[in-house]
Symmetry: C2
Subunit: 241 residues, 2 copies
């Protein structure tokens, strides 16, 4: 069950050329990520970046009045800390562990050095950033136009895509915070999905039972994001040339 953690479980690390990978390998530190752990606060200085293998990180913005909204999620397909190499120096949103698991931590300066070689790793990270931009843009659209149910479907799909399993550990309360809606709204939408046999949940454990049906009930946003990630970041396995 518990798979032995391995840096190659992160798609970006997996896509590196062996020379680049070897340069970083000794500095990659395996860390356990606990649910709810806050990795970055807005405005903080970036000391490390994280390559998730089996956890999911939420990027969220918390407003002055305390209300929040998720901007994007990062899982084993990506890296947390893009503003490091984009030049921001500081983080721009809060990063919270949404699903517990493992990640590899890397010193910020080391990644920056590698990025500045302007080689395959740089190109790979920029492509990933482009995919992340698509996810953010689609989140904006989704927030404007789609119902809570549609957004919940999108959110569940994006989450299970980033885990090996069809099961999530996540209360409705937390999902509501992510989506920036009321908990009751999530309860209602989730209740419908459960009655229709698409999902099953109980006290913080959600299981997706009928994935195709969930995709149908979701808005187009899920497919747009997924397609763009697949296009920009195909499973390249060490051939990021």
């Amino acid at each position: 069950m518990a798979i032995l953690p391995n840096p190659k479980q992160n798609h970006l690390l997996d896509a590196l050329l062996s020379t680049e990978f070897d340069r970083l390998l000794t500095d990659l530190e395996l860390v356990k990520m606990a649910l709810g752990e806050v990795l970055y606060e807005p405005g903080g200085v970036l000391e490390h970046v994280y390559f998730p293998t089996s956890c999911i990180i939420s990027l969220l913005y918390v407003m002055e009045n305390g209300a929040s909204a998720e901007i994007a999620v990062v899982g084993n397909e990506g890296i947390l800390g893009i503003s490091l190499f984009m030049g921001g120096e500081t983080t721009s949103s809060r990063a919270v562990v949404q699903s517990a698991g493992y990640a590899y931590k890397l010193n910020a300066q080391l990644l920056k050095n590698e990025f500045n070689r302007a080689g395959p790793l740089q190109r790979l990270l920029l492509r990933y950033t482009q995919a992340l931009i698509t996810q953010m843009a689609q989140t904006a659209v989704c927030n404007r136009h789609h119902s809570v149910e549609q957004q919940l479907c999108r959110w569940l799909l994006l989450s299970i895509d980033r885990l090996a399993t069809d099961e999530l550990t996540m209360t409705q309360e937390l999902i509501a915070n992510m989506l920036g809606v009321r908990r009751e709204g999530v309860t209602e939408a989730a209740g419908k999905l459960q009655r229709d046999g698409l999902i099953n949940y109980s006290r913080g454990h959600i299981t997706v039972l009928n994935r195709p049906a969930l995709e149908k009930r979701s808005c187009e946003c899920y497919q747009v994001v997924k397609t763009e990630f697949d296009r920009l970041l195909p499973a390249v396995h060490g051939i990021a040339k």
Copy 2:
């Protein structure tokens, strides 16, 4: 009144070192941008990038059902076509001229070559992209939590910041498309702002009369975006070292 167009009116071009600027100068082509002109369609191949000097470009996503939402705006502080150097090759959203004016057009390959030198221009473009990401993220938050009036204020402020003037040529119908709300909603919000003396409008011409008051009525999103642009892209004037 009509200022002679000059590439240096674009802040990114203005921030370049003279050696870089000189390499590009002869290939910069001044183009007139007409209101409503569509520069990119999603999925299209990028043949040119644009450096606006006196126009504003809207990046918008149009959904399957025809509804739309603005993702970000690009004016003389930026460049249209970031996915070129981010590695996407194709554009990911529709780009429409929101306010007529001028821009400098540049062959995509030339910019790509310059970007790949991994020098000051690359760092500048990445910083700009980071600022654009902030704008998109904030749009997502704003769409979730703020009223039409607040969003209208934000939108007006972001727009006039990107022009030299306090006047915009823009019907309420078009603003509604950008914000992804009903035209009536804009009419109502704009009517209130006019009654309170903050703006003046008539048949597609909007004048901002009381900018500080507009900032007060806006949500925090405007300041967040503005602060981040100012932080990442101070007026450097040829010292992007």
